[in-house]
């Protein structure tokens, strides 16, 4: 049985400007010991989706189900959620300073976390646990560094301290929200290795939120691609990277500079993501889509299985043959080009490009 099963989750925020529809009917599952990568442009709802699971979106209208280890998280009281947060589901944020208090010693903060959830732990036991955890995440001389304040740690060390804190109570699931975005490549690689290693040791489930497809390629088992608050595509890492079906997923993969394709120009996705207050009708990607069909403009496609054998889903009206880069997918692409199909955003971009040059 899945450790977490989210079903048709909808989250919106009433604001002065209108209702922000941040998450619109998302379903997914996470198995123990597995990593789900969630990718998408900023504002696509990745953070809201996961924060809602642990009760950190106050003021939001929430609908749907999120069954974690037999309990629907969305039905729990704040007090019940507090007992789950940190202990059974923990979170690692992009900026460790949002979770580490600047005025308290790092070791003390980890020890206090332990004591808050485990009444039986003595002060000394909690302190020893903090030292042990800092050692496990690769902080050198942890028995000395427990006494440091957060500002005495480098960015990479702070992120390690955050991971140590996230692991302190042996959670069943970790939500990592852009945990390495602010870090250098060498440090990022170390942190990802560390997460994988710790996950293998303890069979923890991991939800890795990122806008970096390189991170997903490196660490995920399954991937969910989000666009405008919905899952555009969902599948195994292999399906998403090598057999992608949704034009948005294809667009993301094609827009990355890649030395193996010696192209002079990159192929960006034209336009920008829509306003979540004022969503376009039909498929929310249609203004930017190069495959757009008449139907796309008025009817929004559901996420459906496009693969008979494996669980690969896409929310797009294109036929299943659009998946991948094989001959039939290529034929569909050529047909779209031949028919001159392009979303409204593409037309605007072309009009601007064709305008007279700056004198």
């Amino acid at each position: 049985m899945a450790l977490l099963e989210v079903e048709d989750l909808t989250v919106s925020f009433p604001t002065a400007d209108g209702v922000v529809k941040a998450v619109r009917g998302v379903s997914f599952r996470v198995e123990p010991g597995q990593t789900l990568g969630i990718v998408g442009e900023s504002g696509s709802g990745k953070t809201v989706l996961t924060q809602t699971l642990i009760g950190l979106t106050p003021g939001a209208d929430i609908n749907g189900k999120a069954v974690f280890d037999g309990t629907d998280l969305l039905q729990l009281s704040e007090a019940q959620l507090r007992r789950i947060r940190g202990a059974r589901i923990s979170v690692i944020f992009q900026d460790p300073l949002t979770s580490l208090h600047p005025l308290y010693r790092v070791g003390w903060q980890i020890a206090e976390m332990v004591r808050a959830h485990e009444a039986s732990a003595s002060r000394k036991e909690a302190r020893d646990r903090a030292v042990d955890l800092l050692g496990r995440v690769g902080i050198p001389r942890p028995e000395q560094r427990v006494h440091d304040y957060p500002h005495q740690f480098s960015g990479g060390m702070r992120q390690r301290a955050m991971i140590a804190m996230a692991l302190a109570l042996a959670p069943k699931m970790i939500i990592a929200d852009e945990p390495t975005t602010a870090l250098d490549a060498t440090v990022q690689a170390q942190i990802l290795d560390l997460l994988l290693q710790l996950q293998e040791e303890s069979d923890t489930a991991l939800i890795m939120i990122t806008h970096d497809l390189g991170v997903v390629a490196d660490i995920a088992d399954d991937v969910m691609v989000m666009y405008a608050g919905r899952a555009a595509e969902k599948g195994t890492k292999h399906q998403i990277f090598y057999e992608s079906h949704h034009p948005y997923t294809k667009g993301l993969l094609e827009s990355i500079p890649n030395s193996s394709v010696a192209a002079d120009r990159l192929r960006p996705i034209p336009g920008q993501p829509p306003s979540l207050i004022n969503l376009p009708a039909g498929c929310k990607f249609h203004p930017r889509c190069g495959y757009v069909l008449d139907r796309c403009v008025c009817a929004e496609p559901e996420l459906v299985r496009i693969d008979a054998v494996a669980d690969h889903g896409s929310a797009c009206w294109l036929p299943a043959e659009a998946a991948g880069v094989g001959a039939s997918a290529e034929k569909l692409r050529e047909q779209a080009v031949r028919e001159g199909r392009r979303g409204a955003a593409v037309e605007v971009a072309e009009a601007i490009a064709a305008s007279p040059e700056v004198a």
Binding site: D184, A185, T186, D218, L252, S255, P257, S259, Q272
Partner: protein, 351 residues
Amino acid sequence: MTGQAPAASGDVLIRVDNLVKHFPVRTAGFINRTVGQVQAVDGVSLAIPRGTTLGLVGETGSGKSTLARCIAGLIPATSGTVHFEGRDITNLPRQRMAPFRRNIQMIFQDPYGSLNPRRRVGAIIGDPFAVHKTVPADERKRKVQDLMERVGLNPEHYNRFPAEFSGGQRQRIGVARALALRPKLIICDEPVSALDVSIQAQVLNLLADLQREYGLTYLFIAHDLEVVRHVSTSVTVMYLGKIAEAGPKNPVYDTPRHPYTAALLSAALAADPEAAAARQRIILTGDIPSPIDPPSGCRFHPRCPKAQELCGRQEPPLEVKAGDAATHLAACHFPVTAGEKLATASRRARP
């Protein structure tokens, strides 16, 4: 130690020789005493031929932005020289710097922080015209709208505020403003780091188009190695204020000679699961040390998988290594040889 800038073929637009920038570290107290120096840039030399792009990479704190700000004349250099079209522009007084400043513009990482939120974009983009008085006031609006159009912004949005634009559009505003005076050199400090990939590709294409159209020269700072490879003609790798390796991009990426370059490249994540699974990461121990008290000898030695006794004692010169092209330089006593395997960690055993 790093000596003169490498001889570059063609017409050199900007040339930096032995540039040093130290920041004094003071005690925060009643009596301000200088207790040390942050050696942010310590003897850097480079030359950028006109119409080309030099990519600058290195970990946080390696001195990239400081070097850029010295070149742009935004902060004074401690020592060393900067030549623009053969003329020495190092630490010129404001007045005499003005004509050069027109020709050297900067684009910054943070499209949010670098735009005044209370000013309309028309005024922001038109600022350089007002400051340098190159365009009469009544023509300014048309000029600004031409620029907006050129960078892919809707000219009708002239009166909007920065908050009404997306991240990618705000970066275009920065590009339009930098372009206003038709500069020769644009220094891009992490111009796409804050953008999503699809938008990042739009801005990179725009920069490439503008370069072709106006013959622009770029100094391009970024931490994404694939981005740098895509945009650059040549690449310079910095570590703790010094150049570790420099040269045309392909040899530097394909056959790095400095162990730090090799480690950096091995840590980059390709958006390709099969490549990721095959990745052999070179293990670096520890974090980047403090530039206040950098390690002796080779600054990389405490983390280097190839370090030997000599490395802690003697600083390696930046020089051409045996078998390399005359433009490919590395600062290492024991350079990586073709096919050499450094200590690596392969990924998890899991399928």
